[in-house]
Amino acid sequence: MPAASVNLHALAADVRRIPHAGMIAAAKAAKKIVDDEGRRIAGADGMRGKKRRGLKLRARDDIRDTATGATCRVQGSVPAWIWANTGTKAHTIRRRKRGPMRKMVVSHPGMPGRHAWDRVAERITRVVPEIFAAQVSEAIRG
């Protein structure tokens, strides 16, 4: 039977690994949430215009280890996230159609924001602490 000090040292090592391991799980969960909200806003094919490939609303993650733990930055992959979150003002769009044209730009009336990233933040704030709590609980139970 191992001594109590050995068990405590093993527990300390497990706890020390929690920030990195938990951050990986948290990043996966966050990206899944982002993908889910993006599909809700833009559909499976992404936010698409006419005859162009759709912009899929996803996110990138960047996990870095620090002296005391780990950090992760989850960032929307395309600027369309801002459009989906806060909307756009009225603006003009340059035409991409080839051939002679009377107008070089068309007017876009703007669109209201749908607060997609706000929902992402709210869900991540709720889910990530639960992930770390589960990691700590698993480490303590062995």
């Binding site: 706890v15 938990g22 951050m23 992760c72 930055r73 960032q75 991540i124």
Partner: protein, 522 residues
Amino acid sequence: MAEQVRIDLVADDKASKTIDHVADAVEDLEHADPAVTISADDNASTALADVADAAAELGKTDPTVTIGVDDNASGTIADVRADAAELAARDTEIVLQARVDAAKADLAALRSELEQTGDKAQETARQLDKVDSGGGSNLRGNAIADLTGPLGDASDGISDNAEGGATKVGISASAMTSAITGIGVGVAAAAALWTLYKQRQEEARQKQEQLNKAQRDFNKAVREGKLDEAAQVLLDQYGELYDKAKLAGVGAQEFTRFLTAQSDELPTLNARIAELNTLIERNADKGKQATAGLAEIRDGLLEQRDAFKETRAANIDANKALDAQDDQLHAVASTLGTTKRKSEEFATSQERVEESTRRVNSELDRMKGALNVDQAMNDFKRAVIDGMAEVGESALDQSDDVLALKQSVIDMGEQFGRTPLEIKTELDAVDAGDLAKVARDVEAWYRLHPIMLASKLDRPGQINVGGSGGGGVGPTMAAPSSVINVNMPAGSRGVDVLRQVSGQARRSGRRYGAQVVHYARR
């Protein structure tokens, strides 16, 4: 500052260091070698021995627990239970008995009133005999009997119902002793009223259906000229009214005319009522008691007349209802006819859409043809330019370049619908090295191609194709407000040109045909 769509997650570990410190302390503790001395206390061992002895002594004893039953208490409970049962039964009986007594009292009062009415009728009859002592007018007769008869029957019927009702209440009381205390009298009364209301509604509906059916049968019999059958329908439906009318002195013909709305009044009955009024006025000086009987008869006749009028109004309403049903049938039939017409119009519209689609496809084919012509012309020009460059260098021979040029000429000839003789002439020119002639001729083919020609016709009002042919041609399908003059060039095919021009005419406010090709080339 532009908005950022990013979330930063930070996880710091502050616990592991603490745990490490604790582990180190525990390790130090483990490596220590503490000595623990345990000394025994004799007093304690003595006390433990005493406790063991006491436990053994307790195990040897055989405790017995006796529970006594108080007979007085059980007797009291039984008495209370019996009293409660008796009280519950007594309350129920009291409530039921009160309701039965109240119902009997109401019935007795009703019977008394009916008997008083019967006595009054008898008194009226006697007074009438006194007034009309000669017996000529026979005003008393069956009218009074009719008045008293139904009242007497009603009285008997109500009595029977009362007995039956009392019996029913008694049965339900014995069966529902336990449940009746939970039901309020008001709820029971409301339920009874609701049941009665539903029964009345059902009866009224059935009666209305019977009336409608009889009226329809009557109308059908009259329409088909079966008067005997119509008369039988009337008698089946209004037999009692006919009897009463007969008693009131109204003939069947007069009553039938009134009932079927052929006349608005019953003259005989009105005359009888007027006669009674006259008698009452004439005997007014003999006192109110002397004319009371006459007034009673007159009121009875007035009631009969009102009843006849109500029946007649119901008859008229039934006829109106039947007319409304017929109107609805006509409206539904008309709607179905309209739906059929709509379907036919939709089919016609669909044919138009198909025709329009076919026309659009045809135009698209023509546009594709124009693109093909342009592409072929470009290829040919490239081949001719290459060939002419080689001619300039005196390097044109029967090589692959010449064969490619000839193939290009053949393709252009097929594309532009040239005859084999014309194509052969151009091939000979290629062999002779006169590529300029070939290029000029093929350019002419291109210009005179129907599609290219039509694309150059920018205005439908005045079209000049040019060339030396001359001669005006009036199109047969152009818009009536415009005249198109086409100067046919030499070698051009007039039929194709006309088709292109006519295809540019306005239809339904839009231009079709060559105008579409014109835009497609941009």
